[in-house]
Subunit: 284 residues, 2 copies
């Protein structure tokens, strides 16, 4: 962190304390125009963040489908918005999984690599995972059966859910994506030749989301799951699995924050297409 | 503001200052799991809010189309997220316009009423308006011509734009919506009999947004504009207008924050429908 930031934060904190002490935050001022951070905005921001109930997203899935692969947000920034999540890397260089605040890169060899804070992402969705419900899986289920089981645990279909499954798996079929060179092909072209991996008799963790249909174009409606082994050596985007036992944590999420890239690559892309069918292809 | 909030904010500020003084914020800790607000989350939140570049939204347009009209977020809270915006009121009791931090309620008589902080909204979108570009309208234009003029001022079609037009109008045709009683009808039923108003030779301000197509289901793709007269006595949802001269401010917005309601009314509604055609009907 730079000294300049230190000074700014310090000044904001002092102003918040001063505002509280002098009792300046009242209803009369709450609607005032502000060019900079006010005590009330700071309060609002802090109140929001104290909930940990935010799905924070970089870019849109439509942009990724269109081949907008240059990373803009670095992982140091991303981790400030969540300790749990999925995504990819600049140049579409593998599948990303974040777990317990540590980010892993599953490259096209299926191996999990460490990730530097200076690495960047063109698309990611993270949250501070804090399970609202925890349940046990005690009998063998494949992916489809697990999805039905998860569905019964979700109180409704209109909010967002972060999902964490810690378990013992008969098998997990994953895929990753190879790093692309410019001009970038569309995602549906890349995944036609995606490398897939079969992990057998393995302990590990599934990390991902179930999102409502109204996120279409912005993120992936329904389930989107990544996997990493217990020893954090392998994983990828989940295609299929058989779980024998495990624990399921679900984090009901009512807040969504999307950060749109400022790169010309993003701004010039065509995000108006109906990408439903392409999305179905690339997720399989 | 309650004493409890005061104490929490004060404690957060102290912890931020303590963290800064002791130099505890470094890269090594940035990925840590946090149950509560950490100095780094606070920093992140404050950095975000200092940008004023956030479109903050309550609920989804699909929920409003389905008749989810009970307000949940009060205007005191909403104003913490913006001094400019549009929306509606609990029970669909009129059109909302916020300008310079003051909220107005245009009821079904076309008159603008003051709004108490304790009143609530089922759907609203606000931002801290800070124009990136300012341009002049110097020749007469109708709505369609003005939309073309605005389109030429937007650098791309992939981010969100807040729009403010301060001008002299030959006429402005607006509509409002009457307060509904339960069981709430769908929005498309309500707007079939909407009261419309013709304001002639009037100065006033148009407040609204142009949003990308990928917000479909979440908000209104394209233009969504409300109007209020210069003397703040009348207005509504804009159907048509003729402007003779004015100033146009556009605020390019790269960040989007959506707060989903926790009410059963929202959670139990069917948000899976394709609402494109209904939306077109209710916006006219």
């Amino acid at each position: 962190m730079t000294m300049r930031k230190n000074i700014i934060i310090f000044a904001i904190c002092l102003s918040v304390i001063f505002t509280l002490v002098t009792g300046c935050i009242d209803e009369a001022e709450s609607g005032g125009i502000s060019e900079n951070v006010t005590g009330q905005q700071a309060e609002s921001a802090l109140t929001l963040y104290s909930s940990n109930d935010i799905l924070y997203q970089v870019s849109t899935i439509n942009a990724l489908l269109e081949g907008v692969y240059d990373g803009e947000t670095d992982y140091e920034s991303l981790k400030q918005h969540g300790d749990f999540g999925i995504g990819t890397f600049s140049g579409l260089d593998g599948e990303m999984i974040e777990l317990d605040g540590i980010v892993y890169q599953i490259k096209d060899d299926g191996i999990a690599y460490p990730v530097n804070d200076s690495m960047t992402t063109p698309f990611a969705a993270v949250t501070f995972f804090d399970a609202d419900t925890e349940d046990l899986i005690t009998e063998p289920m494949n992916r489809s059966q697990t999805e039905d089981y998860l569905a019964a645990l979700m109180p409704n279909r209109n909010i967002m859910y972060a999902i964490k499954i810690n378990g013992t798996f008969d098998y997990v079929r994953t895929r990753s994506v190879p790093k692309q060179e410019k001009p970038y092909p569309k995602l549906v072209e890349v995944t036609k030749d995606q490398p897939t991996f079969e992990l057998e008799q393995v302990n590990g963790v599934i990390v991902g989301y179930w999102l409502p249909s109204y996120v279409e174009g912005i993120n992936v409606p329904g389930y989107h799951l990544h996997f990493i082994t217990e020893d954090r050596t392998a994983g990828g985007h989940v295609l299929e699995f058989g779980i024998t036992e495990g624990t399921v944590g679900i984090d009901n999420t009512h807040r969504f924050f999307m950060e749109l890239p400022k790169s010309n690559e993003f701004l010039d892309s065509d995000l108006t297409k109906d990408t439903g069918s392409e999305l179905e292809q690339v997720e399989k």
